[in-house]
């Protein structure tokens, strides 16, 4: 019963949600609406669980003075301070002249943007040190990468302006993206969709049970 009941609930809810996609009647749409609301509330609790888990894992590292404990201390202090300030400021924590808004605008936002900006430097370094053409496939990949990279920017267009229009980099780049890339992407999407359907069916039918206490 301990195992059968969750399997039964999963099957019923799964079948019900599929039905709601095809049956617009209130008998189906109202309960499915309720189930969606429940899902959103459960996901909300995930934040509490995630916060608690982050605190537990990092507090352990700090307590044992393991390598990098200083960074973890900054993380924990920042987490506690942000939550505490938000809680004290209450419902209006997002409005102008509040510390929470200042933290978001002046600390979180520039730091997140900086993290992504650094990628440009590492990509250039990786391109020089690691992108080695050792096989025909790698060669094709490099040629496609060069065409798309240069064809996407105005400088690429300028560099090949002297060529006939269909041979200019932007036109070749468009062809690469719209024909071979598109065909491959469509195949991947269809394959993934079929895989999701198969996995969904396996869960509903109780064949796939890995979500129940790590069973296969």
């Amino acid at each position: 019963m301990k195992r059968e009941f969750p399997l039964f609930v999963t099957a019923v809810v799964g079948i019900f949600m599929i039905l709601s996609f095809f049956v617009p009647h209130q008998l189906v749409s109202v309960p499915s609406d309720f189930l969606q609301q429940c899902a959103i509330i459960i996901v909300g609790f995930g934040y509490v669980l995630g916060g608690a888990n982050t605190l537990r894992l990092n507090a352990d590292t700090i307590y044992k003075r393991q390598p990098g404990w200083g960074y973890k201390l900054v993380l924990v202090l920042a987490l506690i301070a942000t939550v505490a300030i938000g809680a004290v400021e209450g419902r209006d924590f997002l409005t102008e002249h509040k510390i929470s808004k200042w933290l978001y605008d002046e600390i979180y936002s520039p730091m997140a943007a900086t993290m992504f900006a650094l990628l440009a430097f590492y990509i250039a370094s990786a391109a020089f040190r690691a992108f080695r053409i050792r096989t025909v496939e790698a060669g094709l990949l490099a040629v496609a990468a060069l065409i798309v990279m240069l064809g996407r920017v105005p400088l690429g267009a300028l560099m090949t302006k002297w060529l006939p229009a269909p041979l200019q980099l932007p036109a070749v780049q468009d062809w690469v993206m719209e024909v071979p890339q598109n065909a491959a992407k469509r195949a991947i999407l269809m394959g993934a969709a079929l895989g999701v359907m198969a996995t969904g069916l396996r869960v509903i039918l109780g064949i796939e049970r890995s979500y129940l206490s790590g069973e296969d």
Binding site: F21, S29, D33, Q36, Q37, A39, I40, V43, G44, G46, Y47, R91, D92, L94, T95, K101, Y104, D105, Y108, S109, P110, A112, A113, M115, F116, A120, F121, I123, A124, S125, A127, F128, R129, A130, F131, R132, I133, A142, A145, L146, M149, L150, R152, V153, P154, L155, G156, A157, L158, P170, D174, M177, E178, Q181, N182, K185, R186, L189
Partner: protein
Amino acid sequence: VTRWLERLDRRWIFFGMGLLVLLPLLFPLSLPLTVSNRVRAFHDGIARIPDGSTVLMSCDYDPGAIPELVPMTRTALHQLFDKKCKVVVTCLWPGGPGLVDNTVRAVADEMHQVDGVDYVDLGFKEGREAVMVLMGQGIANAFPRDYQGKDTRSLPIMRNVRDYSSFPLLVNISAGYPGTKEWVQQVQGRFHLPMVAGVTAVSAPEFYPYLQTGQLVGLLGGMAGAAEYEKLRGEKGTATRGMDAQSMAHVFVALCILAGNWVHWRRRREERAS
């Protein structure tokens, strides 16, 4: 040259990249831009909706995508407000609502639009695809309060908004999951809501199949897409200014690939010879 390249400290590569990004920002080259069909379709998709319509705009990104997605959000809002459209804004990324609110409010103030009447920012709601489906049962069901905490149902803009059938178009600006793919699968496919999307350059290839099938009416890909959109609208925003820097950075990365392989090829030749 090969020996010098072999011993090249990667900090020189960082320095080169920094310089090539910084210089065009300080001294713009004003390289000419060509508008692609995808960008024109995005622009025309918005241009085709009746003036004064209420449009749903979901801005699903966080500060990591500022250079690419904020310019296209701004230009899309300019185009919508120019058409006297009312805009209902949502955000499904936990790190994004502050940024999205700042962007929407800045454009709205610049164009003298009134909060709650001409536009509303409904803020962030956790639940990803579940929120998208729930909005199909009623926008106010999913977002009972707006970003400022006001009762959504009491806002003048929401009087004529019930569910997805109240909108002629969905404008989605997204940096990943949940984003354009999920909006196509959960909303466009299910509620048949026409949709245009603006995405980061790295994720743009994923959406070409949806563009080809007509599930997406138009697509802006990365800063290049945003810059082309600005050109089409006759604006000179941050994407247009950033394209010179991006051009130089792309050429530099291409040169790095070629130089790296030149070194590799020479080394292999020497090894074989010895």
